[in-house]
């Protein structure tokens, strides 16, 4: 390629909301016989001034013509693109979720995150479903997600779609408060060599590589690997959390596009770490509420095999068949061990019926089994357990008034070994009076099935002297203060009312507003004394709103601003840690500025309200990054993270520190 490619203006036009409106108009107004010319856009004219080589080298949005589906979605859907994430400087999926309006991301320590929208952070986020490339990664052990091991090659990340609110009809149990769906690009779209590496005071060295090549005329592959090494956190007094950690992760993926709309995906990934640092607090036997604290390294390893066949019969009509096997093992710092094998198969078929109905239905089955080994304070009874889930769903979208009013009705039917048969219906309606406005509303009843922990755990919080516990003199008789699982715990169910409005205020500004009210019944908690068996004695309501504004200020500057309000009220004789663990107010402003076509300045400011239950004060986080594309192959970046303070608490006594790192990226 010629030298002048380095001078290509990478983003000379910005795809503004205007052409989005045109795309949406095309989508819905195809009945007109004539092509309606899009108003000539001077910004696009620059395309015609580029040389052929420059035009060839230009990076484009790989998804043509479907850019505006987000605008008409009848749910609180937020999308982070690969570009949003690359420009943010966030180096993991968990961290990138800070950019989602209404999503709380709190770091307990260097390798633990608490992430949730609409409340109920539950330590590791117990009411959200997380999927990566079609694979469910939340762990049924505690209905949460081990965020440290959820990783992809960030360069190959296509996007993260987040539904704040229920997604249970399509996705199933646990999709109560949110669905986080991470998608990487196909092997076809990630060809060539990518190498990157960097170092910083918190990110103590990271590197990634990928090679993408062709298998045949219609087959592509990529093989990749990455490594990260993170420094530990400290508390305000400078005590080390001992939570430094690393992770190696690699994978292979192949995509084959056969004839007649048939395509195949196969992928295999492996990851591992023998240094997931943890400060453990263990009760001392035969002593009244005495604990020893020690630093121990845990370890984790695992991998998966996934195969998917997709057939597109015509646009909007086709089917997908996917199967995967996943294994994960973990040993915590205090010696508790768990391994899990999961096999999952899922079939979906979507088609149109007449001119007014679009139907999607599917069936799925999952087998998961675990083996645990008790530590001094964590045990499961039984030690090993298998669970089978079979499910089916159907969802029908009706056109009530062509191009304007739509109704979607659907339900998931699921049978699991723990709580039996669960039905999860949902009704949504939306109104698109024109291409610039969408008004939607929905009512859903998702459920969350109890986790293995809520069924079977024996968790020793402390050892107490019976006499001292009763408020008298020491008796010399010690009992464990346990939290125990109960097989009779039923599924939590939730009734969700929500609605929203999206509007293109003008050619450069898009507004997105959503409100919700969720009523929870039979919430699973431990009794108010924090000791005893899990039960369904909790009820709760939560309500809130999210508003975000995407503003393309100029050709070279984009601003995104968001604010969210969440209020959670828990009732019942339960140990309620959720009311005070959800920030009421959150806000963010993100700025993406191209100083020159080759130099980007990216900044983000986040505000998170206090968490009284976690003893966390409100804080501001400011990130700033500069990226310079030296030429078509070389890119240099420097990012400062959390620059406003030396450290602040987010979800524990350990502080999230300020950090700076530099990165070099090579692409061939």
């Amino acid at each position: 390629m010629e030298d002048n490619i380095g001078r290509v203006p990478r983003r000379p036009w910005r795809r503004g909301p205007l052409c989005g409106a045109a795309a949406a108009a095309m989508l819905l107004a195809m009945s007109e016989a004539r092509v309606v010319a899009e108003p000539p856009d001077v910004r696009d004219r620059i395309l015609l001034d580029l040389s052929l080589d420059q035009l060839s080298a230009l990076e484009v949005d790989s998804v043509a013509g479907v850019g505006q589906d987000w605008f008409k979605a009848p749910a609180e859907l937020h999308v982070l693109t690969g570009s949003d994430i690359r420009r943010s400087g966030h180096r993991s999926i968990a961290e990138a979720l800070r950019m989602v309006p209404g999503m709380f991301v709190g770091r307990g320590d260097a390798n633990t995150w608490s992430i949730a929208a609409r409340g109920f952070n539950g330590g590791l986020g117990n009411k959200s479903l997380v999927m990566i490339d079609g694979r469910t990664v939340y762990d049924p052990l505690f209905s949460g997600t081990f965020w440290d091991i959820q990783d992809v090659l960030m360069e190959d990340l296509d996007r993260i779609e987040v539904i704040n609110g229920p997604g249970a009809t399509l996705w199933g149990a646990n999709a109560v408060n949110g669905v986080i769906n991470v998608t990487t690009r196909s092997a076809k779209e990630t060809q060539g060599i990518y190498l990157s590496g960097g170092y910083g005071d918190e990110h103590r060295g990271f590197g990634a590589m990928r090679y993408g090549g062709r298998l045949s005329d219609d087959g592509w592959f990529r093989v990749w690997g990455k490594y990260r090494n993170r420094d530990s956190f400290e508390d305000a007094d400078g005590n080390d959390a001992g939570d430094d950690w690393d992770l190696a992760h690699g994978g292979f993926r192949t995509d084959i596009e056969a004839s007649d709309g048939l395509s195949f995906t196969f992928q295999v990934e492996l990851y591992g770490s023998d240094r997931i640092g943890e400060r453990t607090r263990t009760p001392v036997p035969d002593a009244h509420l005495l604990f020893t604290t020690s630093q121990q390294d845990g370890r984790a390893e695992g991998g998966h095999l996934l195969a998917r066949v997709r057939k597109e019969i015509e646009p909007g009509s086709g089917w997908t068949l996917q199967a995967y096997y996943d294994r994960t093992e973990r040993v915590t710092g205090n010696g508790f061990e768990v391994s899990r094998d999961t096999a999952d198969i899922d079939f979906r078929h979507f088609f149109t019926l007449g001119d007014h109905q679009a139907i999607i239905w599917g069936v799925a089955a999952r087998h998961t089994s675990d083996r645990t080994r008790a530590s001094t304070n964590i045990a499961y009874d039984p030690r090993s357990r298998s669970m089978d889930t079979v499910s089916a769903f159907i969802q029908d979208t009706f056109t009530i008034v062509p191009d304007k009013v739509f109704l979607m009705v659907g339900s998931k039917f699921e049978h699991n070994d723990t709580t039996g048969f669960e039905v999860q219906p949902s009704v949504r309606a939306w109104f698109t009076p024109d291409d610039r406005n969408t008004l939607w509303a929905g009512v859903s009843r998702p459920v969350r099935t109890p986790s293995r922990t809520e069924d079977d755990t024996i968790l020793t919080l402390g050892i107490a002297d019976t006499g001292l516990l009763a408020g008298g003199a020491a008796s010399g008789v010690f009992i464990p203060l346990n939290v125990t699982g109960d097989d009779d715990v039923e599924a939590e169910n939730v009734l969700v009312f929500e609605g929203g409005y999206r509007s293109r205020l003008n050619d450069r500004m898009t507004l997105d507003l959503a409100v919700f009210l969720q009523q929870y019944d039979d919430l699973i908690f431990v009794p108010a004394a924090t000791v005893g068996s899990f039960n369904n004695d909790g009820d709760a309501e939560s309500y809130g709103a999210t508003i975000s504004l995407d503003w393309r200020v100029s050709e070279t500057w984009r601003l995104v601003a968001a604010y969210s309000f969440t209020d959670v009220q828990v009732h019942g004789p339960v140990a309620n840690s959720d009311e005070g663990s959800t920030p009421q107010h959150m806000a963010q402003i993100r700025s993406y500025l191209d100083i020159t076509p080759d130099i980007e300045l990216n900044a983000a400011l986040y505000y998170v309200d206090s968490l009284p239950q976690q003893n966390v004060k409100s804080y501001l986080r400011f990130d700033l990054g500069v990226t310079w594309r030296v030429n078509d192959h070389v890119e240099l970046s420097i990012f400062g993270q959390n620059l406003l303070d030396p450290g602040h608490r987010e979800f524990s006594t350990f502080e999230v520190p300020r950090g700076v790192y530099g990165q070099v990226t090579l692409r061939f």
Binding site: C19, S31, R34, L58, V60, A64, T81, D158, F351, F406
Partner: protein
């Protein structure tokens, strides 16, 4: 590329069935939003990004194909008559082309982008139908560049045979268009717009495409 174009299935279609019901298309798109979002499909909700729309880049390529090609003098009425880019059917590239391609000139010749649609044959009797089809065929054959939009995927074989021998450079982003006998086939490859060139068909057509364009192309042959 994709070795087996779906030619046998589509070739039997008549003009009347070329375009699916518009409502159906809209409904399918809606269905696709949820179907795709549900299982890691790369075509689900994509928010506006700061990278250019591939459709616009493709439309710029179509204009460049017109710029970097030569037609025999007989293809023009006179020295200043326009280069006609026909856009048959509808897709996002065609829409972008209508916005972008006019007001461009190649030497003394202005470029004109002309939206085309298959004739509406409803209510016409047999002879009128034949006439309407013949008029439509002539319209296609008058073009210098014919962009076949993705809405016409099912009819691409009959379109290609309609313009055979008329010195029309055929371009499309329909999958396997070049393998099916089309000349230039745009697609997104590795996040960039790239294209296949069916050099045999180009040479046979009488249109000369500059080597500046062809050296950037991947060569494709017609697959029978």
């Amino acid at each position: 590329m994709h070795p087996k174009p779906h030619t046998t299935r589509t070739a039997k279609r008549t003009d009347e069935t070329v375009a699916p019901s518009p409502r159906l298309v809209a409904l399918r798109c809606l269905a696709a939003v949820f179907a795709c979002a549900s299982l890691a499909a790369p075509a689900a909700a994509q928010r506006d990004d700061d990278v250019p729309d591939s459709a616009k880049v493709m439309s710029a390529w179509v204009v460049n194909f017109a710029r970097f090609s030569e037609w025999p003098g007989s293809k023009f009425e006179h020295g200043k008559s326009p280069i006609i880019i026909g856009v048959l059917g509808r897709d996002d590239v065609g829409t972008a082309l209508v916005g972008l391609g006019n007001d461009v000139a190649v030497g003394d010749r202005p470029v004109r982008v002309r939206p085309l649609a298959p004739p509406d044959l409803a209510g016409l009797d047999g002879e009128e139908r034949l006439k309407a089809r013949a008029r439509f065929r002539e319209e296609l054959r008058r073009c210098h560049v014919l962009y076949v939009a993705r809405s016409e995927a099912a009819a691409s074989n009959s379109i290609l045979s309609s313009v055979a021998g008329a010195q029309v450079l055929t371009v499309s982003s329909i999958k396997d268009f070049a393998a099916a006998g089309g000349m230039l086939n745009l697609e997104v490859r590795n996040n960039k717009v790239a294209f296949d060139a069916n050099v045999e068909e180009i040479n046979a057509s009488g249109v000369t495409v500059s080597s500046k364009v062809l050296r950037l192309a991947r060569i494709q042959k017609t697959e029978k």
